[in-house]
Structures are given as C-alpha cells and as structure tokens.
C-alpha cells in the first residue's frame, strides 16, 4: 500500500458526486472505511458470527477469540500496560459518559471542581454538566486564546484544591489546536489530579502511547479511525478499573447475582454490560492493521503536508478567514467566507463534489467566543491530497461566483 494511491483502498471514491470525483473533507466528522474493514465485517458475519463469551460451541469460540484478539490488538496499538485497560464502548461519547458517571458517583461532591476548556466538544462537557446538576459540582472553563490554543498557564491558574478531574481534548475539532497534553498531565500529576483526554480527534492523527502519555482516561471513536460505526474505546488506567464502580448493568458484567445483593466483575468487563458489538470490535482490528501498514507517523506527515498546502492556498484568497492559528495544528481547517454563510458554502461546494461540514461542530461555547454561530470546516484524512486542496480552493471561488462576491 502506498499513501499516494490510497484512495483506491476506499470504495466510496469509486462513485461520482454530482458528476464530480468525491473530495471528502469531513473526516473529523467520520472517516471513510477501507475495503479490508468492510470485508472483515461481512466475512465475520458470514463465517464466524456468534455471541461472544457466553457459549462453548465452535462459532462462539471463534467469535470470542477474535473479539479478545481485537482487545489485545488495541492494547498493543495503544501500548497500554494491561489488556484490562481497554474497554469497548459505543463511541467516545459513551466513553466520557462512563467516566463522568462512575468517577463522579464515587469521587465528586458538592463544590468540587471539574476543569475543562472552552474548546471542548459537547461530548466532553454535557456529561460533566450532569455532575453539576446532580452533585453540585462546579465546571471551570480554561480559556482559549486568540490563536485557538489553550495554554498550560491557563490550566495552571484554574487548578485549586477542589479540582477533582481535568478533562481536555487532545486536538480541537474546530481550531485544530494540538493541546499540550503531556505538560498538562505532568502538572496534574504533581497535584494528584486525574486527567481524561478526549482523544477523538487525536487518535486518528497521532502516535498514541498510553505509557508515555500516562493519562488516566483516553477516549476514542473508532468510526473516525477508518473503523466501523457504533464502537469506541475507553483506555482506563488499571488503578481506576479497580477503583471505579460499574456503569451500565446487565449480562456479562456481574460476579454473583442474588435477590438482595449483586457483586460485580473485578476487571474491565464490569464496564461492558450486555451483548457487545462483536462484528465492530472484530473488524476494528483490521482498521488498526490498515493504519499500521501505512504507519501512523507517515499518515500524520502526509496529512500535515496536505493541510499546510491547503492553508497556503486558502490564505491567498482574501475573502477567506481561517479560524485559529494554533502553534501546532491537527487535521482540521475551519474557515469563513466574507458575506457567505457556512451553510451556503457547504451546499455550493457539494455541487463540485467537495464535502465539507458547516455548523458549530458541537462546540457552541467556542463559537460563542468566536462570535460566530457557524463556521465551515474542511478536515483531512489519509486519503486526501494536494489535488483535493486545489479543488477545495477552486470550489470556494465558484461559491463566490454564485454569490457574485
């Protein structure tokens, strides 16, 4: 496989959109899937499907082995110390809800503080808001600076004796800022405060080494990593796996169930209630194989070059305003266009086969701060290249023509 030719691994690019080749620039929303991943799903359902962990017949054994092999694969990929640190969830949103609920139940009390940032996606704010409603917790927002970054000093300033957890995004899905998570984690460790990283945008674009990052929780959405829908991963440090109470209740997560009392599993399975997403878990191993074959650092390099090229192109157009100029930028490029609303941009670009997203990208706090209800966002995946950036730039010009601007 070669990154230059990688589009052909993704069947979605075979079709024409409005007669044009598809320029897919919405990967921060969800990435497209390579054929190997799609085939793995079919193949699993066709030849090995069964419920896992519960039966002893041949199909159940095959499915269980595949399922647990996938956990091993994720553990290795993330370089987590223990396989029990890998918990499968419905998505990053559920992963964060799980932590907010379980951690909150046990450790957060009236007046305790939760430190997040103005950059956070609703998925890393609403779950904590529930602790505000239920426990009287206080949510503090680290401010974003004019470049779209959150600086370490800003975090430092807000930490108090009452800070119970810090929950921050790895990469902003709007400004593209790569946050200084290592430094924040170091700082938090000095004060003995656990850190949750919303890695939804981080994991698809950077080398993730849990033992190096050394955070307490890291949330991932598999569908943004060339993987299937409906699956997420929560990395949870072993000590929290041991300490936190279970989340949802149901089959598979119990130890003993009696009429007056229930005891729970003492490992990661206490967080995995009910029938799991077997086919999704199994096929996600293929997504990781795909990423590994290309190399995540090669992917990141290719995406960066593409992004930088695109930024340069767009900067040449005086009507375009790029949102944020962070010190280092992930694969996201938000912009606005003079006198043309982002929705109109998105619709008009689509006519040229260019798929971008318009809106607040689930970051209303940040958009409020920016003084904009909506922005247009082009986000990059491994399959994008400079030609895509040229087409984006041309499509924006066409858009201006439609509006006669």
């Amino acid at each position: 496989m070669d990154i230059k030719n990688i589009k052909k691994e993704f069947p979605i690019f075979k079709q024409k959109i409005n007669g044009k080749s598809l320029v897919y620039l919405d990967s921060a929303n969800s990435s497209q899937k390579p054929q190997v991943v799609i085939d793995k799903i079919s193949n699993f359902y066709e030849t090995e499907f069964s419920n896992v962990g519960r039966s002893v017949h041949t199909l159940a054994v095959k499915a269980t082995n595949r399922f647990e092999a996938s956990r091993d694969k994720v553990q290795k990929y993330l370089n987590a110390k223990h396989r029990e640190e890998i918990i499968f969830t419905k998505g990053a949103t559920e992963a964060i809800n799980l932590v907010a609920s379980s951690f909150g139940k046990k450790y957060v009390n009236n007046g305790d503080e939760i430190l997040i940032t103005e950059l956070e996606h609703h998925s890393n704010y609403v779950p904590w808001h529930y602790l505000r409603l239920e426990k009287g917790a206080i949510i503090k927002f680290a401010q974003v600076n004019k470049d779209g970054d959150v600086e370490i000093e800003e975090i430092k300033k807000l930490i108090t004796k009452k800070t119970k957890i810090i929950a921050i995004t790895h990469i902003s899905n709007v400004t593209g800022a790569i946050l200084p998570i290592e430094k924040i984690i170091e700082l938090a460790k000095e004060k003995n405060i656990p850190v949750l990283i919303d890695g939804t945008q981080g994991a698809p674009h950077s080398l993730i080494d849990m033992q190096k990052i050394d955070c307490d929780f890291y949330a991932i959405s598999c569908h943004k990593m060339y993987g299937p829908n409906g699956l997420g991963i929560l990395y949870m440090k072993k000590k929290w796996v041991d300490a936190l109470p279970p989340y949802q209740g149901g089959g598979g997560m119990i130890n003993e169930v009696k009429q007056q009392e229930i005891t729970f599993a003492d490992n990661h399975t206490k967080f995995e209630a009910g029938t799991m997403q077997t086919a999704e878990v199994v096929s996600f191993a293929e997504s990781l194989n795909f990423i590994e074959e290309l190399g995540i650092t090669n992917i990141a390099k290719h995406e960066n070059e593409t992004l930088e090229y695109g930024l340069e192109k767009l900067r040449m157009n005086n009507s375009i305003k790029i949102i944020g100029s962070p010190k280092s930028r992930g694969s996201v490029l938000c912009f606005t266009l003079k006198d043309i609303h982002p929705h109109d941009i998105a619709t008009i670009l689509d006519e040229d086969g260019v798929a971008i997203r318009a809106g607040h990208h689930c970051c209303q706090i940040l958009h409020e701060k920016l003084g904009m209800a909506a922005t247009a966002r082009a986000s990059i995946g491994v399959y994008n290249d400079k030609e895509d950036m040229d087409k984006l730039s041309e499509a924006i010009k066409n858009c201006q023509k439609v509006f006669k601007n």
Binding site: H341, H343, T347, V402
Partner: protein, 146 residues
C-alpha cells in the same frame, strides 16, 4: 440538483438585503426559533390589529442566505394580510417544499408569485428545507401566542 435554481437572483437579493429586519414598533405577538444542529436563529415580531390582520411585522435572525431570504420574503408577503390568507399561504408554501406541489392561492400578484416560487429550488436540497421553513413555522407560533 441545480444550484442556479437554489440561489436565484431574488434569493441572493433578499439574503443580502433582507426586508423588514429589526423589531417592529408596538408588536403584539412574537416567537423565536433556533436550529440546534446548525445555529440558525429567527425571531418574528408582528402587530395584529382588531380585524385580525397583520398590520406590521419584522424579523431578526442569523443564518444562511436561504433562511434570511425566506424570512424576508415571508414578511413582504403577509404584511397587511389576514389570518386566513396567512394560514393558506403558509400551508401551500410548506407543501411546496415538502411535496413539490404548486402555489395556487390567487390573491397574490404575479410578482409575489415569482418571489415565493423562487424558493421552490430548495425542494432538491433536503438538508436545506429546514432553513427555508423555519421562519414560516415561527410565524405560526407567533400567531398562536397571545
């Protein structure tokens, strides 16, 4: 799908220079709406007189060309009209976008007909239908309030 149908001159004009913007004097009714998925907002103000006619109306709003144009065109069309006309034209308008039916109401001028049908291009863009209909739904809510 045809962009030229969607972004006709009339719409671009109304989008750039929306009519009846602001808060009209002595309004008796108002209502606002907001699309949480995209952030579009509209707030409609109107003054109902004793004859149940809309003596005056206006809107405030943020949003795309389609939503601003639709609100602007709406205010032009219903100003001075009575409730039964408003109900009818709203129904026909929503039907036009949803079921691709024609506007049949005959108490509007040919110019007004051209203007309102200029929004029919939105039919082909399902994700944008909400942009065009929000103001109209909001008008109905405003009328229901007292």
């Amino acid at each position: 799908m045809d962009l030229k149908e969607l972004y006709q001159e009339i719409i671009l004009d109304h989008g750039k220079n929306p009519r009846n913007k602001g808060k009209c004097k002595d309004f008796t009714n108002d209502a606002k709406a907001h699309n949480p998925l995209c952030g579009d907002k509209v707030h409609i103000y109107l003054k109902l007189n004793k004859e149940k006619q809309i003596e005056d109306l206006s809107f405030e709003g943020e949003g795309c060309a389609i939503s601003l144009a639709s609100a602007s065109i709406l205010t032009e069309l219903v100003k001075g009209k009575d409730l039964s006309f408003i109900k009818k034209i709203t129904e026909e308008f929503l039907n036009m976008l949803k079921n691709k039916t024609k506007i049949t109401i005959n108490s509007i001028t040919p110019d007004q007909m051209t203007t309102i049908t200029s929004l029919s291009g939105v039919q082909e863009f399902p994700m944008r239908v909400k942009c065009a209909t929000m103001a109209w739904h909001t008008l109905l809510s405003a009328l229901e309030k007292k």
